[in-house]
C-alpha cells in the first residue's frame, strides 16, 4: 500500500511536471511572452524593463526553470485586469465552482440512481423505456443551450427562479457559500441542474446496466433462496456491487464537471473560476490563464489518486500493490 502510494505520488509529480512544460511551451513558444507579461498599453521603456526583469533574453531552458521556481512558490504573476496575484484570484473563485460542482454531482446521484434502478428492474416497461430514451437526450443536448432554455422557461416565462449570479451568500469557515441561504439555493437550482444533466444520464445508464447484470448472478439467486426480502436483496446485496463502477465513474467525472462548469458558469453568470477563465481568455489576461491551468492539473491528479484509493475501499478484491 505504502509502496503503491509512493509510486503514484512520484507519477503524479511527473504528470504535473509534464503539464508545466506544456503550459510553458504554450505560453512562451506558441504565444508571445512579451504580450503575456506586459499589459498591451505599456510603453517601449516599460517593455524593455520587463523583458530584462523576467529574463526573456535568456535561453529557454533557463526561463523554464525560472517559471518552475515561480510555480513551486505559488507565484504565477499578477492579473492585468484585477492587479492581484493570479493564484489568489483563482483561489477566491474556487469555492463558488466547487459548491456548484459538488451540488451537481450530488444531484446526479440522487436522481440518477433511483431512475437507473427502476429502468433496470423494469427494462421493458413504458416508464423504463422512457427513462432510457430521456438519457439519450441527456447525452446529446448541448449544455449551454439547455442552460439558455432553462433561463427562458423558468426565469423569463414563469419567473420562478433567478437567472444569474450566486444570490445572497452566508459565511461558513471563513468562505462565502450560497447553499446556506434561501436566496442562494434558489440561484443554485438551475446552474446545478444544468451541470448535472449529462451525469444524471451517465449514472442512470451505469446503474441500469449494473442491475440487469447482477440480477442474473448466483449470489442474487442464493440471497433469494435464503428467503431475504426483495428490497434487502436489491438495496444491500445488489447495490454494493453496482456502486463500484458508479463511484469510479462519478469520481473520474468530477474533473469534467469542474471543466464543464466553465460553460454553465458563463450561461448563468455564476462567479466561479470557470467564468473567470473565459473572461480572462477574452481579454488575454494570461497570468490568470496559466494559474487556472496549473490549478486544474493539480485538481485532476488529486482526483485520480483519490478515486484509485476509494476503489480499494469499496472493492476489497482490488489489491493496489499487485500481490495476489
Amino acid at each position: 500500500m505504502t509502496t503503491w502510494l509512493l509510486r503514484r505520488l512520484v507519477q503524479a509529480v511527473f504528470v504535473m511536471l509534464a503539464m508545466t512544460v506544456i503550459v510553458f511551451v504554450g505560453v512562451n513558444v506558441i504565444g508571445d511572452p512579451v504580450e503575456i507579461l506586459i499589459s498591451p498599453d505599456a510603453d517601449q521603456a516599460e517593455r524593455l524593463r520587463v523583458i530584462a526583469a523576467f529574463g526573456l533574453d535568456k535561453p529557454l531552458w533557463e526561463q523554464y526553470l525560472h517559471f518552475l521556481g515561480g510555480v513551486v512558490q505559488g507565484d504565477l504573476g499578477k492579473s492585468f485586469v484585477f492587479n492581484e496575484p493570479a493564484l489568489r484570484l483563482i483561489g477566491g473563485r474556487f469555492p463558488a465552482t466547487m459548491e456548484l460542482a459538488f451540488t451537481a454531482v450530488a444531484l446526479s446521484v440522487i436522481v440518477g440512481i433511483p431512475l437507473g434502478l427502476y429502468a433496470g428492474l423494469k427494462p421493458d416497461g413504458l416508464l423504463g423505456r422512457a427513462i432510457m430514451a430521456g438519457s439519450i437526450l441527456g447525452f446529446s443536448l448541448p449544455t449551454f443551450w439547455v442552460g439558455l432554455m432553462l433561463i427562458m422557461v423558468f426565469a423569463v416565462q414563469l419567473g420562478w427562479l433567478p437567472s444569474t449570479g450566486r444570490g445572497t451568500t452566508a459565511e461558513f469557515l471563513g468562505i462565502q457559500w450560497s447553499f446556506l441561504t434561501r436566496d442562494g439555493l434558489a440561484h443554485m437550482v438551475m446552474p446545478a441542474t444544468n451541470l448535472a444533466l449529462g451525469n444524471i444520464a451517465l449514472v442512470l445508464r451505469l446503474t441500469r446496466a449494473g442491475v440487469r447484470e447482477n440480477l442474473g448472478l448466483e449470489y442474487v439467486k442464493f440471497a433469494r433462496a435464503k428467503g431475504l426480502s426483495p428490497s434487502r436483496v436489491l438495496f444491500v446485496h445488489v447495490m454494493k456491487n453496482i456502486m463500484i463502477p458508479v463511484v469510479t465513474v462519478i469520481g473520474l467525472e468530477f474533473g469534467s464537471v469542474v471543466a464543464f462548469a466553465v460553460v454553465t458558469e458563463s450561461v448563468f453568470a455564476w462567479p466561479g473560476m470557470g467564468k473567470l477563465i473565459i473572461d480572462s481568455i477574452n481579454v488575454l489576461d494570461r497570468p490568470v490563464i496559466v494559474a487556472y491551468l496549473m490549478m486544474i492539473v493539480v485538481l485532476f491528479v488529486t482526483i485520480n489518486l483519490l478515486v484509485d484509493l476509494m476503489y480499494t475501499v469499496l472493492d476489497p478484491r482490488v489489491r493496489l500493490d499487485g500481490r495476489e
Partner: protein, 292 residues
Amino acid sequence: MREETPFRRFVSEFAASKVAVIGFVVVVIVALLALLAPLLAPQNPYDLAQLDIMDGRLAPGAKSLTGMVFWLGTDDQGRDMLSGIMYGLRISLSVGVGSAVIAGVVGSSLGLLAAYVGGWVETAIMRLVDLQLSFPAILVALMILAFLGKGVGNVMLALVIVEWARYARTARGAALVERRREYIEAAECLALPQWRVLFRHLLPNCMPPLIVIGTIQVARAITLEATLSFLGLGVPITEPSLGLLIANGYQYMLSGKYWISFYPGIALLVTIVAINLMGDQLRDVLNPRLQR
C-alpha cells in the same frame, strides 16, 4: 434473386432499425440544406444589401418591409433566422466533419503504427493517448484556443488535438487483433513494403470500429465547436456557426425574444441526435463481437 454482397447485407442490417433510418434521412436532409444553402435560403445573410436593420428582432412569421415572410423571425441585424441557420449549418458541419476526418487520419495512422511496430513507439504513443484522454475535451480545447487565439483554423486544430486519441486507441485495439491473422503473415512473406502491409492490408480490416467512432466523433465535434463558439472562443463573427447564432440571441432572451437562440439550438440538437442515432445502429451492425 439478387446476389448477397457484404455491402447489401450491411444496408439491410442497418435498415433493420427504423430509428436509425430516420436518423440517416435527417442527416442527409441537414447535409443537403447546408450544401445547397445559397440556392435554398430565402436570403443571403451575409449580403448587407439584402438586410434592413428595420427588420431587426421580428417575431417568427412576421413580414419584412418588402413583404418577405420571416418564418423563424430575425436577429438583431434584421437577418432572416432560417437563412442564418442554413448558412450556420455549413460552418458547423464543415468544421465538425473536417476535424473528425483529419483527426481520424492522424489518430488511426498513429494507432496502427503503435500496434504494428510495438516497442517504445507503442509505449510513447499510448502514454500520450492516456494523458490526453485523462483531461476533458473542453478543457484541452480551451487551453489550445487560449494559446492560439480564435478562428476557424484554430478551432479545427483544437478539435483534431482533442479527438485524435480516441481513434488511436480504437485503431490500435483493432490492429492488435488483426495483425496476428494469416493474411498479414502472407503479405509479409511476399516481402511487401511495410507501409503497404500497414495501409493496404491492415487498415481496411480495422475500418469497422473506426467508422463507428468517426460517426460519434462528428457529433461530438459539432457540439464542442458550438460550445466554444458560444463562449466566444470559436469561429469569428464573420463566419457564424450555430453556436455563435445561439450566443447572439443570449442577450435578447431575457426580454422574451426567444427565437434568436431557440431555433439554431433546435437545428443543432436535431443534427446531433440524428448522427448519434445513426452511430448507435452502426455500432450494432459493425461490431464484430455481435456478428454471427
